[in-house]
Symmetry: C2
Subunit: 152 residues, 2 copies
């Protein structure tokens, strides 16, 4: 299993409920390369249901796309710069400027979800990423993110 | 305190992690009328931080807008039909077709957030809602939702 992007985040950026390795109670989403794209896999536990118990709540779908999207934006920026995340140089952390989610069908609980990211473009500090979330080969949601390089 | 929209949902739609009254571990967001607009207030507990511990994770911002948005869409549809939610007639439940979130600044942890909804338009089964999320009078995020009347 390759090192996840989130496992390369410095400690001060690692507390995210959705994907931070240092959040003791969070989801610990892990994203990595799959060729030119990025991928994460996650099975949502039953308590994170929507109004109907069999389906994931809408905010969770957005959360998975958001955490995978910012990690993917960073990965694409590193690759474009000829670098690898965790290479010991100055860390590039991306934050969400905007996220659009289209909900195509209900997302099932208790089934492994596949979240994918594809680079749309890089322009200065801005990275645009196309996102998708599927279950058992069926698309449940798609998204688009504009992420921006974080400056301290 | 007026009855929250979510407290009028029938039991079968009340299990949402974000706002369902029958989810034993969820956030139990409560939305209600404020004149022509809708409002919900929520203080995010520390474990739901973003990468940096002082700020809310991005997916949580989307979640609050999503739960408040679908509840608001239903409320606007009831009012447009001259009805009150919980009037004992056939229940109108709305689901998200699309949600766009613009992140304007980091959202603080441990501070009461105000989430607001404003009707943009109703067209058949579709309701469009403008959303905002602020802390201490400062806008942290804004959103737009297209919600659709759920048919079983």
């Amino acid at each position: 299993m390759p090192t996840a992007f989130q496992d390369c985040y410095p400690e001060r950026f690692s507390h995210c409920w959705g994907c931070g390795k240092d959040n003791p109670r969070g989801h610990h989403l892990k994203s990595c390369w799959d060729g030119e794209e990025t991928v994460a896999r996650f099975t949502v536990p039953p308590e994170f249901s929507g109004g109907v118990p069999d389906h994931v709540y809408g905010g969770m779908v957005a959360s998975l796309l958001d955490c995978h999207g910012t990690a993917s934006a960073a990965a694409f920026a590193y690759r474009a710069a000829g670098r690898e995340m965790g290479d010991g140089g100055e860390f590039m952390r991306f934050v969400t400027a905007s996220l659009k989610v289209d909900y195509l069908r209900p997302t099932p609980i208790g089934v492994e979800l596949e979240i994918r990211g594809r680079l749309l473009g890089i322009e200065g500090r801005k990275v645009r990423v196309a996102l998708s979330l599927g279950a058992a080969g069926q698309a449940c949601a798609r998204g688009e993110m504009l992420a921006v390089l974080f400056r301290e």
